[in-house]
Symmetry: C2
Subunit: 358 residues, 2 copies
Amino acid sequence: MDEFASIRHWTDGRQAAERQRAQGVVIGIGDDAAVVEAPPGESGALQWLLAVDTMVETVHFNSATMSEADVGWKALAANVSDLAAMGGVPRHALVSVSVPRSWEPARMRRLYDGLYACAEHYGVAVIGGDTTSSPAQLVVAVTAVGTVGAGKAISRAGAKPGDIVFVTGPVGMSAAGLHWLLAAGQSGDEAVPLAAAQAAGTASLVQAHRRPSPSVRAAQLLAARGTVTSLNDVSDGLASEAWEIAGASSVKLALRKSQLPVSGSLAAYAHSCGLDPLDWLLYGGEDYVLLGTISAEDAAPAKSAMAAEGMPMYLIGSVEPGEPGVDLIRTADGSGGGAGRPKERREPIRPKGYNHFA
Amino acid sequence: MDEFASIRHWTDGRQAAERQRAQGVVIGIGDDAAVVEAPPGESGALQWLLAVDTMVETVHFNSATMSEADVGWKALAANVSDLAAMGGVPRHALVSVSVPRSWEPARMRRLYDGLYACAEHYGVAVIGGDTTSSPAQLVVAVTAVGTVGAGKAISRAGAKPGDIVFVTGPVGMSAAGLHWLLAAGQSGDEAVPLAAAQAAGTASLVQAHRRPSPSVRAAQLLAARGTVTSLNDVSDGLASEAWEIAGASSVKLALRKSQLPVSGSLAAYAHSCGLDPLDWLLYGGEDYVLLGTISAEDAAPAKSAMAAEGMPMYLIGSVEPGEPGVDLIRTADGSGGGAGRPKERREPIRPKGYNHFA
C-alpha cells in the first residue's frame, strides 16, 4: 500500500458525516488544509483552543507497554485533556504520523482504531494530518482544536491566596501501571495482555496508563461555576503541575499528604513492591486528571455538585501567599491523636516530573 | 538546560506582543492550550483553515543539505503554503519537536531562528507546541491555522472542462537543488555553504530547496478574482498535484511541455549533468508554488493582473472532460515549423511523486 492508499485505509468511512457536520467541518481530510467553521447553535462568542501533543516510540511507549490501539487512543486523549484543562470543549483533531518502514500496515490501522475510538468517545472530528516515513521509531503528533466561551478559558495563572487546591481523580496510577508493565513485559514484543494485569490485580493501573480518560465533563461542570481560578491537567505529575500553577500565579501551594487520593490498587501494588506510593503520587504523570484551584467559599459546594454527577473531587490543599513553590504538609507521627491539632511538618517539593531533557 | 528552560530559550521574546495581538492571541505558549479569537477588523464571516506538515531528519533533510535554520524555516513554510493553497491567510502556528539527545542546544536555537524568521515574514503568531526527546532523529511537526472568507476556500475539486491550468512559478528547482546538495555534501556534516552553490551557479536552486517562498500574496490575488476553480501547492511534484486535482474534480488535465516554466539555472544545471530537466519539472516536489485551474475567460486578465503586481503566472495547459488523468502534450519533432499547426504527441503522466511508503 502506498502513502495515499494507507491514509484512505486508516481514515475512510471512520466517522459519520454527521459527526463532521456537527463540528462545522467544511473540508476534511484530503486537501491542503481542512476548513472548519464555528459550530452552529452555540450562543455567545467563542474563542478557539489549540494544543499539540506528541508520542514517540521508546520514549513514551514500547510494544510491551502499549498496543497500537492504546497509542492511538492516548495520543488524542492527551490533547483532549489539554483542552479540558482550559475549560473547553474538544472539536477537531489533525494527526501527523511518521511511520517506520518496519511497521506492518495492520499495526497502523490498529493505531487508528484506538484514535477513532477516542474521537468518538469525546465527539472529536478528525479533519486532517500528514504522513511521512520514519527512519526508526514511530512518532505521532496530534493537534487538537476546541472552543471555549469568549474570556472563559481557565489558565494556570489565576490562583489566589486563600483558594483551595483540588484534583478530579486519583494520581500516580499511570506511573504504577507503567512500573508493572515494564517488569511484566520484558520478554515479549506483544503488548502485555490485560488478563495478566487482572490476574496480578493491576488492571486499573494498566488501564490508567494505556487508556486515560480526560476529565472533559468535570472541566465543563467546574468551569461553569465561575469560581475556578486556575486549572492544569496532570500530564507531567502532580508536583510539576502544582509548580506550574504556583509559578504562573506567583503563589505557594500547600498540599496535604493525607488528602492526596490514593487508589486501593495503587496502595496494594506499592505495598507488594515494598515501595512508598508517594513518589508515584507526586511525580508519576500521565494521569490526565485535573489539578486546579477554586475559591474557598465554593470548594465544598463544588465538591457536592460534582458528587451529584458521579464525579470525584478531592480537596488536597490550599493556596498561600509567598514565593512561588509547593509544600507538602505531613501530619507528624506520634502527635498523640487526641483532641488537639496534630503536629504538622512541612517540606518543599521540587518541581520534578518527567523531563525530556533531564 | 532542561525541557522548560529550553522552550523558553527557543521562544521567549521572539515575537513582539503586537504580532500576537494582531493575530487574536489571548493565551500563547506556556499553558495547556493556546487561546485565540478571530482577528479584529475583518469584515464578513470567516472560516478557519488547519494544516500540519512534518519534517523528519534523514527523510526530508540531513546536516549537509540544510542548516538548522533552514529546517525551521521550511517546516513552517510548508504549512503556510498549504493555507495559501486554500486561498487563505496564515495566522497561527504550533510546533512539535522531538529532539535527539545528541543535538547540542545551539542547534535547536538556530532551528527556531529560521522558524521565527519565516513566521515574521508571513505574519504568523507562534502560539504553542510540544517538546519531547527522540531516540534518534529530529522530527518537527508544525500545525498552522489560518482564515478564509466563509465559503471562499478553494479546494482541489472544482476544476471544469474548458478551464486553463496555471502555475505561479517555476517547478523542479528544489529537486535540482537537492540533487546538487547531495553530490556536494557527501564529505561534511555541516550544511553545504551557499558560497559553494554560488560558485557552482546553483544558488537559486539551493535556495529554492532550503528557503521556499510560499505564494501567499499570489493566492490572495487569485482568490479575490472568484474565477479560480481549484488550487494546490506543489509539495509532492507537478504530476502528483495535477493528478490530485484531476481525481478530485473528475477531469483530465492536459499540460503542454513547451509551456512548463523552466528556470535558466535549472536548465543549465541539468545540461551540465547530462540530464533531462523534465523529470525534475514533473516529479520534483517541494516547490511550494501554486498549481490551479481558472476559467478560460479570466486566464489572460488574471495573468496581466498578476504581472502588474510583479508576480509570474504561467498558463501551462487546459482541463478536458474524461477519465481522471494527466496528459503531457509535446510538439512533435520535425513538424516543419511552417504556418500549419505543428503535430502534437500526447502521453499520459503517472501520478508519481515523492511517496513515503513507495
